[in-house]
């Protein structure tokens, strides 16, 4: 599976482009992290990749086919998308929400079958929240909700998963739980494209990082090539130091960055 972005530009209004002349391509499994300051166009780009917004010019191709010409159900069977915010008017059960991931594979007039139920149960198991299946969505924590959405995407059986800041609003532990889960799914063969505000998350979990600033791609490559003191200063406008330390207990090498005082 290849997702190809060619000369993509997008604007909500005529005068100013949110992003412009973007070119990149992702074709092998891994975690692809889009890093950049607030308002740089990450979320908009992700929505375009999901086919929710139409480019002003340029093209996004899935396996050579323009995404604009594909049917919704076809896109949804290739791409799963987890938005940043959810506001549900009805308190569906966790199981029902996960089951809704089967929609792209169902005929207009049909409802999920026994097989679909089994798959939903399996995916809940896979992300470790089988015990929540009868809980109402409004009753569970933010971290659990994010796992529910990941399970729903798995039920969708896509090749690509898009996540918009999957760790925002999550506590210290849940951030790690979610990121490890994402890493695991990428290792199992999923192409994952996510946005993030935390360079350290990209350093630890991403296989590939793209820095975005003011609607442009500034740098692309492996985390260690892209997340440099200089690049971070350029896009965030603050001085940052990168530390390489060895874990005093295990001897394992760790890298992280920290703004300078």
């Amino acid at each position: 599976m290849t997702i190809d972005v060619r000369n993509a530009a997008f604007s909500y209004r005529k005068e100013s482009n949110v992003f412009d002349a973007l070119n990149f391509s992702v074709s092998s499994p891994g975690v692809f992290c889009l890093l950049g300051p607030n308002g740089c166009g990450k979320t908009t780009l992700l929505k375009c990749l999901a086919g929710l917004l139409k480019l002003r010019s340029g093209e996004i191709r899935l396996q050579g086919q323009g995404i604009a010409s594909l049917k919704r159900s076809v896109i949804a069977s290739i791409i799963g998308y987890i938005p940043q915010e959810h506001s549900y008017s009805f308190a569906y059960s966790v199981f029902d929400i996960v089951l809704m991931g089967r929609t792209p594979h169902l005929h207009m007039f049909s409802a999920p079958s026994r097989k679909d139920y089994a798959l939903a149960a399996e995916c809940l198991e896979r992300v470790g929240i089988a015990h929540l299946e009868n809980k109402r969505f409004t009753e569970i924590s933010g971290g659990e909700r994010q796992l529910v959405f990941i399970a729903r995407v798995l039920v969708q059986e896509p090749r690509i998963m898009l996540l918009d800041e999957p760790t925002s609003h999550l506590d210290f532990r849940n951030q790690t739980v979610i990121l490890r889960m994402i890493r695991k799914l990428a290792d199992e063969g999923l192409i994952i494209i996510m946005t993030s505000h935390v360079p350290n998350h990209a350093i630890t979990y991403a296989s590939h990082v793209t820095l975005m600033n003011q609607g442009r791609l500034v740098a692309m490559g492996k985390p260690e090539q892209v997340i440099t003191e200089r690049n971070l200063r350029d896009i965030y406008g603050i001085d940052v130091r990168i530390f390489d330390v060895s874990d005093p207990v295990t001897g394992e090498m760790l890298r992280f960055c920290e703004p300078l005082k």
Binding site: A50, V74, A76, H86, Y88, F90, D96
Partner: protein, 336 residues
Amino acid sequence: MKKHRVLVNTLLISLPIAAMGLSLLFGKYQATPRDVLNVLLSKFSPTSDTKISPMLEVAVMHVRLPRVLLAMLVGMSLSISGASYQGLFRNPLVSSHILGVASGASFGAALAILYSAPQIMVQLSAFLFGLIAVGIALAISSLYRTSSTLTLVLVGMITSAFFSSLVSYLTYTADVNLKLPAIVFWLMGSLAGASMKNLGFAIIPMAAGIIVLLAIRWRINVLSLGEDEAKALGIDTRRMRIIIVLCCTMITSASVCVSGVIGWIGLIIPHFARMLVGPNHRALLPACLSIGGVYLLLVDNLARTFTSSEIPLGILTGIIGAPVFAYLLTRGERWS
């Protein structure tokens, strides 16, 4: 949990049948359960030799039966379209009349009454103007570049207000002795005019709309997650929206044209049903059919037997509906 579900399902299936049977017994003409049963059976086996008085037969077959069936149908229609709209608009406070069907149909009926049209023309005119009002709402909303559900609700309010003003104008100019009472009585809603002919007229659009809504009810769940999520899950949200609006309009327009404007049903029955079976539309829509039908049937029994003259149905559903809704809200609204 399982036991509870079985019990609820049994009730939802058996209650409508029991309520319809019981309702055939109520009325000015005294009839025992045996009499009623005999009349019904004689229709199935014309050779049966039990003597049936013609008065009894008229009372049961031509007065009560069509009215009971129509009450069920209208109750079912208003509740299922209310529940579908609440899902589509992601808002538990909208009802079947949100897009202006009721005011459009009211205008159509008032106009026909004003021109002394026969009853069938009044109904036809109500049906057509119900469709026209929603058609206008859809047409205006498609002019906006962002054709979201919110735009549709706002435009629905606009067409509603417009047709309500026209209705006010017609009632204002109507002849106080001849036309006004007929218009006002129609606007308050009643099933007093129920007949087999009415039933035959209304049942086709109602059944068609209900069947389609039932067929797509699982997708209404996905739609209720919001526009972006529904699209990301592979739903053509625009097409689904149009299908739901068309079905609901056909159903409500048909019920308004045989019963006048009956409020509250499309708002409170879905809430009540949600408390019983949860928010999943796969269970919710069938539950609404059952509860809505029974509810309107019982209220209509009151309307036709409580006092010596008929009480307009719309008044009763409002008087009963308001406190019931207030009570439901205090129950904590577990599912929405």
